[in-house]
């Protein structure tokens, strides 16, 4: 992966992850919000429905309970002993002992009834509402002598009344004790409107219950805090209201006298309960979705990024190796990437074609230049081309690679390019050169190097041009390098150059025969020429060493083969160099 890309912009994986994560998170949040809103609405509706159902159920139950209560009370009020005792009570007025006896008769009777009925309190009053006797666990609130105001209908039908006794509220059902057509007293059942009662109602109604008397809370089935927040609140017949920060649905279930029984349902709590269930589901679903998104996007990013990485790696390697010849392998990641690779390859081909073309143009120009250079002197005409050919032959003999041969050929072709800067007078001087003139000549390798230097694609040839006059013994120019310090290509070109010079006629001498030239080469091994190169040269078939062999068929000089029959065989082995040279001479 390329570090540069990371620094500039986030990696694909990160981007895809972020995107997938973001989208899913948004979806989850949206779902959650929608769900919450809907849950709240649904919960409110269900609480309201629950309340209404409670109210209906409760109303039926309440009516039945009250009727039962009433019937109980009426049945109990028909007790003859009670009636007799109460009626007798009037006629015994003034006799305290007798009255006490009658009261205990009443109480005994009431206790019996209470044990059967299990009513919290049973009581009997005279017609003015003075309690004569009471029974039941709550009888302490109804002591004999206490005055109680009870509502009684004219026709004697029982009425439920709320009575406060000792700060306790009671729902009392009063029935007249009737003797003939006379009412002799009141008999009543009282049950406390306390928290226990509210809780029993809460169980029936399946909702919280609050009992309010004249707007004051007298009993609840709820917590003390809620009870506190109910104080002084005007509760509607039905509806919703805020209590202690929570939303409640309120429904009046029934009313007894001035006491009202309300059912309370907490929407907030129900929503919380419903929400926590669905919240968990949502949380798990969301976590799962996120996990899948992460895995999926990681996989996706990897699938996309991997081939891209491969591609960029290939490109990087290609750039590093400066090897643009091989086409990029298809990544196989996706059709798009393969297309990209193919396009790149086409581009590369086009570019290398163009490059090759421009290179060829350059070379053509340079070649033309060299040819023109050679043409300045009739004696050196075709020299560069011949040196190039011979160098390639030697190089091939030395088993150089084709690329090296190409380098060699081009370098050899251009080796004398620096002679452009040498005046014709010096160059074409038929006589011996003066030291000065020779110094001028000696400048041409450096000059040639300078000329070619700007042409980057001729970098490899530069050394050939610059060093093709260096000699193993260090007496060459321009640097006086020795032996191995001189690059092999330069040595090859040096040998080929010398050979061609020797076998070409000059104004001041004739052309040396090939064999003589070769002998000369042999002779100067280690001094002027590199042994390895000379050996390779000598091993060449005669035809190839022939000046102008590239143009003319080798058959024109068949004798050459006889004179120097494959000197490579002996020379290459280094067996009779002297013999070969002597023969040549």
């Amino acid at each position: 992966m390329s570090g540069i890309a990371t620094a500039r912009s986030p990696r694909l994986v990160v981007k895809v992850l972020c995107f997938a994560f973001g989208v899913i998170a948004c979806v989850i949040v949206a779902v959650f919000v929608l769900f919450s809103v809907q849950t709240n609405a649904r919960v409110t509706r269900s609480v309201v429905e629950n309340m209404e159902a409670s109210q209906l159920r409760f109303a039926g139950l309440d009516a039945r309970l009250r009727r039962e209560h009433t019937l109980q009370a009426m049945a109990l009020a028909e007790n003859p002993t009670l009636k007799a005792a109460v009626d007798t009570y009037y006629s015994e007025r003034g006799n305290e002992h007798e009255l006490g006896q009658l009261r205990s008769t009443i109480e005994t009777e009431l206790t019996k009834l209470q044990q059967i009925m299990a009513v919290p309190a049973l009581s009997v009053t005279d017609v003015r509402g003075t309690v004569l006797a009471s029974a039941g666990p709550q009888k302490g609130d109804w002591p004999a002598g206490a005055r109680v105001t009870l509502h009684v209908e004219e026709d004697g039908s029982p009425v439920e009344t709320v009575v406060m006794r000792n700060h306790h509220a009671y729902a009392a059902t009063a029935v007249p004790l009737v003797l003939g057509r006379d009412v002799v007293g009141e008999f009543f059942l009282a049950s406390p409107l306390d928290d226990a009662y509210a809780m029993s109602l809460a169980e029936e109604a399946r909702a919280d219950i609050a009992i309010l008397l004249d707007g004051r809370v007298i009993a609840t089935s709820t917590s003390a805090t809620l009870r506190h927040s109910l104080e002084g609140v005007a509760l509607p017949l039905s509806g919703t209201l805020m209590l202690g920060g929570d939303e409640f649905v309120v429904q009046r279930l029934s009313s007894v006298d001035s006491a009202n029984v309300y059912a309370l349902g907490s929407v907030t709590e129900a929503a919380r309960a419903a929400g926590s269930d669905t919240g968990w589901v949502l949380l798990f679903t969301g976590a799962g979705a996120l996990l899948i998104a992460v895995i999926g996007s990681w996989w996706l990013a990897r699938t996309v990024a991997r081939p891209i990485d491969r591609l960029s790696n290939s490109l990087a390697q290609m750039a590093k190796a400066r090897d643009f010849d091989k086409p990029l392998p298809p990544t196989g990641g996706s059709r798009e990437l393969d297309t990209l690779t193919a396009t790149f390859n086409e581009l590369r081909t086009a570019v290398s074609l163009a490059e090759a073309e421009s290179e060829a143009t350059y070379l053509g120009v340079i070649g033309a230049l060299a040819t023109a250079l050679d043409a300045r002197d009739p004696y050196t005409a075709g020299h560069s081309q011949r040196v190039a050919d011979l160098s390639v032959s030697i190089g091939r003999q030395m088993q150089l690679s084709e690329a090296d041969l190409e380098t060699l050929r081009l370098g050899a072709l251009l080796h004398d390019i620096g002679k452009i800067g040498v005046s014709d007078a010096v160059l074409r001087k038929p006589t011996k050169l003066t030291a000065d003139e020779f110094e001028q000549i000696k400048l041409h390798p450096t000059l040639g190097a300078r000329i070619l230097k700007p042409l980057r694609f001729l970098d490899a040839q530069l050394a050939i041009v610059e060093l093709h006059h260096e000699r193993p013994d260090g007496r060459g120019y321009p640097h006086g390098l020795k032996g191995d310090e001189i690059p092999m290509f330069a040595r090859i070109v040096h040998v080929a150059d010398a050979f061609d010079a020797m076998t070409s006629a000059r104004a001041y001498r004739g052309a040396l025969p090939v064999t003589a030239a070769i002998s000369e080469l042999w002779r100067l091994i280690g001094i002027d020429f590199d042994a390895q190169v000379v050996q390779a040269m000598a091993a060449l078939p005669v035809a190839l060493t022939e000046p102008g062999s590239s143009e003319e068929p080798a058959t024109e000089r068949p004798s050459m083969g006889g004179l120097v029959p494959f000197p490579s065989r002996s020379v290459a082995a280094g067996q009779h160099p002297q013999l070969a040279l002597r023969r040549a001479e």
């Binding site: 028909e78 007790n79 002993t81 009636k83 007798t88 006896q101 017609v127 026709d155």
Partner: protein, 232 residues
């Protein structure tokens, strides 16, 4: 509650009649006079239901059109505790149509009250009153049980089977009492002369007491008014 009041007004005129004889009463030669008067009930002091009971129509065979008057439940008597012997009486309180008839009787001490059962159903007679606590048990139609009351006082009688039934037996140590007729008129004969307290009593209305002078051989007319206030 007080709407159940039945009007009761009492006008009592009293005549003290000389020597109006009651042959069965003492042959003593003491001077006696008569007390006459009139009771008019204009109001009932206690609650009274508009309907006959808690369960309307429950009491089968009740004779709702039976002529009743609060005057039947009033006793006028001389308020004296001195025992005056007299011939014991024998009176009846019949159990008819789930009612004790009459509702109120006044007897002298030592008298016997019979309780014949006229109904097709069983009845019972019992009392919780101090002066006569008793239970005659249950008995069927045409049977009768009796009870002799020796102590003076108010005896309230009930039926254990029918809680709406009640009756009152008022026992006096002397024979100087009367129950007014349908017009409210009554006569108490042979009352010894002297200053006496005369009381008009109703079981729930309570009582009103007046003083009167009984003079020999003369009849004193007294105007009485039963109290309409609540008894206390």
């Amino acid at each position: 509650m007080d709407r159940l009041q039945v009007c009761a007004g009492v006008a009592l005129s009293m005549a003290v009649l000389c020597s109006s004889a009651r042959p069965d009463v003492v042959a003593r030669e003491t001077a006696t006079g008569s007390l006459t008067g009139r009771v008019h009930v204009v109001s009932h002091p206690a609650r009274r239901l508009a309907t006959a009971g808690v369960y309307p129509g429950r009491i089968v065979g009740i004779q709702t059109d039976r002529e009743t008057s609060e005057l039947d439940n009033v006793i006028v008597f001389v308020n004296a505790t001195t025992r005056v012997d007299s011939v014991p009486q024998r009176v009846s309180i019949r159990q008819t149509n789930e009612e004790f008839v009459p509702h109120v009787v006044a007897v002298t001490a030592g008298s016997t009250v019979e309780f014949p059962n006229d109904d097709l159903i069983f009845h019972n007679v019992f009392s919780l009153s101090r002066v006569a606590t008793f239970d005659l048990g249950r008995y069927p139609r045409n049977a009768s049980k009796a009870r002799t009351f020796t102590k003076p006082g108010v005896v309230k009688v009930f039926c254990h089977l029918h809680s709406h039934m009640s009756a009152i037996v008022r026992v006096f140590p002397h024979p100087y009492f009367a129950v007014p007729d349908r017009n409210g008129r009554f006569t108490i004969p042979d009352v010894p002369v002297g200053r006496v307290e005369i009381t008009a009593w109703h079981e729930r209305a309570g009582e009103v007491t007046r003083s009167a002078s009984v003079e020999d051989g003369s009849a004193a007319e007294l105007t009485f008014s039963l109290p309409l206030t609540d008894p206390e």
